[in-house]
Structures are given as structure tokens and as C-alpha cells.
Amino acid sequence: MVIDFELNETQKELQKLASDFARKEILPQAELHDKESKFPLEIAQKAFV
């Protein structure tokens, strides 16, 4: 059996999707949620669709 360390195409797409979401929706909010100890309900709503 061959060892393969490459993610498949679906996994790469998923990685990009998660990375884009993190950069766009999470990173800009991180400081506020940390400072105010604020639960990310709005972000969860966006992550849900």
C-alpha cells in the first residue's frame, strides 16, 4: 500500500472554504469576542448555511 500525504480535491476545497470563512468572518471579530467574552452566535449563523 502506498502512503499518500496529499489531500484529495474535495478535502482541498473544504480547506479553502474553511480558510476563506475564517479570514472573512472570524479573524476580524476575534479581538472583540476575546475582549468582551462574547459567544459567536452570529458567526455560527453564517457558518450554518
Binding site: Q15, L27, D34, K35, A44, A47
Partner: protein, 331 residues
């Protein structure tokens, strides 16, 4: 959210490896928010392990229709690493169980629709007397106490939860009486890779911030990245990121293939947690005085990293599990 839920409740049935890929990317942006979004993964893991379709359709299916949260309630004020020391009790009377006890450090508790609760049904049996239950949060007698003021991962909303004469239908018992410890341990095999992946995300963030800053900031007439004292710290972050990610992915790949991954999940969790702590301490070092300031992002990484050495089994408990796997299971 909920990428690993089975198809019969409307889920995508993605693997643990896929969960890890998502958890690392979200974690690189903010592990506090990522932990909140991943709370369901922890709470639902025991339900997915037991695979009782009736229970899963009742509790997991609605979570695929709207945003809902659930919490994993195992830890108590006097029982963390020592799971067998759980003092919450569940007494059977007729076709109900009555639950009494306190649970501590419960992520997302205030927003949870239901709780996964580990309780003693026979305290004379130690960990073999533990049983696992699903408790709807709106059951009378369930109280979610005030939010704890935590050092890091402050977005995840941590509370203690009190159960006082909480009556639930007997059908909300997962598996059989006495199965609770086994179910919780099997759930850890599924959840530890995802938790490790969050720590891998922290290492990635440390690496990327440190690369950027060390190329911009100058000292002694050159970017500080030109000083080996700095570049070696960055090199170590890159090395740790790769190693932690590979261990994490391997432990996920094993469980996705149906193999027992207990030792490897502990390798991944302990290594990634310790490497995240080291990387974040060094990221603050690379930034110098600015790293210690809340105006810059790396002090938060250091606060957030610390919890990975504590929750979901401390770094010491992971080494205990690894030792037992080596010496008692000769695996």
C-alpha cells in the same frame, strides 16, 4: 457546523480528517470562536458512537435544521482528569432517571439545547458504575450558572451547570447502565484529533505572524529575520506545525478507517498542545515588547494556547494514556 453528523439525521457524514481540516483553519483565526463552533462536535460524539437512531433523530436532526448548540458535561468541581471520581448521580425510579450533581467548565452551556451528562448509577463500581445520558436543557432542575471569566478562548462561553432532581425519561440513557466510561473514552478517540487540530491552527498562526513581523521589523540595520536568534524560533514553529499536523491527520485517518487510534490521538493532542504553547510563547518573543501588548495579536494566541494543555485530557493525562497503551496493551 456539525460536519460529522450521520446522513440519517440530515448530516454530511464527513470524516474526522475533514473535521480536522476545518478545525485547523478556523483555529488559526480564533480558537475561542472555533471551540464554540465545535462544541457540538464534542457533545454529539458519544451519541454518534452509541448510534441509537431514536435518540439521534430526536437530538441531532434538529441541529441540522437550525443553529443549535449542545454541551459535553463530564468534568466536575472535584473530578477532572479523574473521571471515575464523578459524583453526579442518576437514580432510576420507574421509567425515569433522577439526576443530581454539578458540572464544571462547560463550553457553550448557556446556549445548549441539551447536555451529554456522565453520572454514577452505581457509585460502588467506580468507573464501571458510570452511565451516559442526554439531558434536555429545558428540563426543570437544570441551572446554567454565571459565565466564568477565563484567561483565553474567551468567546467559547464557559459555565458551571447544576442538576437538582432533574427527571428525564429512561430512554435517554445511552447504551446500558455502566457503559458511560467506555462511551466517553470512545468519544475521546473521535474528538481528540479535532481538538489537536485547533492547536495546530494556533501554531500556524504563530508561524505566519512571526514570519511577517520578523521580515518587517528591523534591528541592528537588518530585518530581525536575518538574526538566527529570531529565525530559529520561526524555523521551530514551521517544524512543529508540520509535525503536529501530520500526527493529527494520522490519528484522524486511523479512526476514519475504523482502526483503534487511542495512542495516536493522545500523541496528536499532547504534541500539538505543547507545541502550540511553545510556539505562542516564542511568537510573543519574536514581537518583543509589542508581543506583550494587547494591541498586537500574539498575546491572545499565548492565552488561547494554554487551555490545550488542560481541556479534553491534560498533557499529563495524554502521557498516562500513551504509557498505558505501550505497557498494558503492548501496542
Amino acid at each position: 457546523m456539525n460536519p460529522g453528523f450521520p446522513e440519517y439525521v440530515g448530516g454530511l457524514d464527513l470524516g474526522i480528517l475533514e473535521e480536522c481540516i476545518i478545525a485547523e483553519e478556523l483555529g488559526a483565526a480564533c480558537t475561542g470562536i472555533a471551540t464554540a463552533l465545535g462544541a457540538n462536535m464534542l457533545a454529539s460524539a458519544p451519541l454518534i458512537v452509541v448510534d441509537n437512531h431514536e435518540i439521534n433523530k430526536e437530538f441531532l436532526a434538529p441541529m441540522m435544521e437550525e443553529v443549535q448548540f449542545a454541551s459535553y458535561c463530564v468534568t466536575e468541581p472535584n473530578a477532572g482528569s479523574d473521571v471515575a471520581g464523578v459524583q453526579t448521580t442518576a437514580k432510576k425510579t420507574g421509567d425515569e432517571y433522577i439526576i443530581n450533581g454539578n458540572k464544571q467548565w462547560i463550553t457553550a452551556a448557556k446556549y445548549a439545547k441539551w447536555f451529554y451528562v456522565l453520572a454514577q448509577t452505581d457509585s460502588s463500581q467506580g468507573h464501571k458504575g458510570l452511565s451516559a445520558f442526554v439531558v434536555p436543557a429545558d428540563t426543570p432542575g437544570v441551572t446554567v450558572n454565571k459565565k466564568e471569566d477565563m484567561m483565553g478562548q474567551r468567546a467559547s462561553s464557559t459555565h458551571s451547570v447544576t442538576f437538582k432532581d432533574v427527571k428525564i425519561p429512561a430512554k435517554y440513557l445511552l447504551g446500558a447502565e455502566g457503559d458511560g466510561f467506555k462511551i466517553s473514552m470512545k468519544a475521546f478517540d473521535r474528538t481528540r484529533p479535532g481538538v489537536a487540530a485547533g492547536a495546530v491552527g494556533i501554531i500556524k498562526a504563530c508561524r505566519d505572524y512571526s514570519i511577517k513581523y520578523s521580515m518587517e521589523r528591523t534591528s541592528f540595520g537588518v530585518p530581525i529575520a536575518m538574526h538566527e536568534a529570531v529565525s530559529f524560533m520561526v524555523a521551530e514553529m514551521a517544524m512543529d506545525h508540520e509535525a503536529a499536523q501530520l500526527l493529527t491527520w494520522k490519528s484522524a485517518w486511523m479512526i476514519d478507517k475504523g482502526e483503534r487510534n487511542t495512542k495516536f490521538a493522545s500523541f496528536a493532542k499532547a504534541f500539538a498542545a505543547d507545541a502550540a504553547m511553545k510556539s505562542s510563547t516564542n511568537a510573543v518573543q519574536v514581537y518583543g515588547g509589542y508581543g506583550y501588548s494587547k494591541e498586537y495579536p500574539v498575546e491572545k494566541l499565548m492565552r488561547d494556547a494554554k487551555i490545550y494543555q488542560i481541556y479534553e485530557g491534560t498533557s499529563q493525562i495524554q502521557r498516562l494514556i500513551i504509557s498505558k497503551e505501550i505497557f498494558l496493551r503492548s501496542s
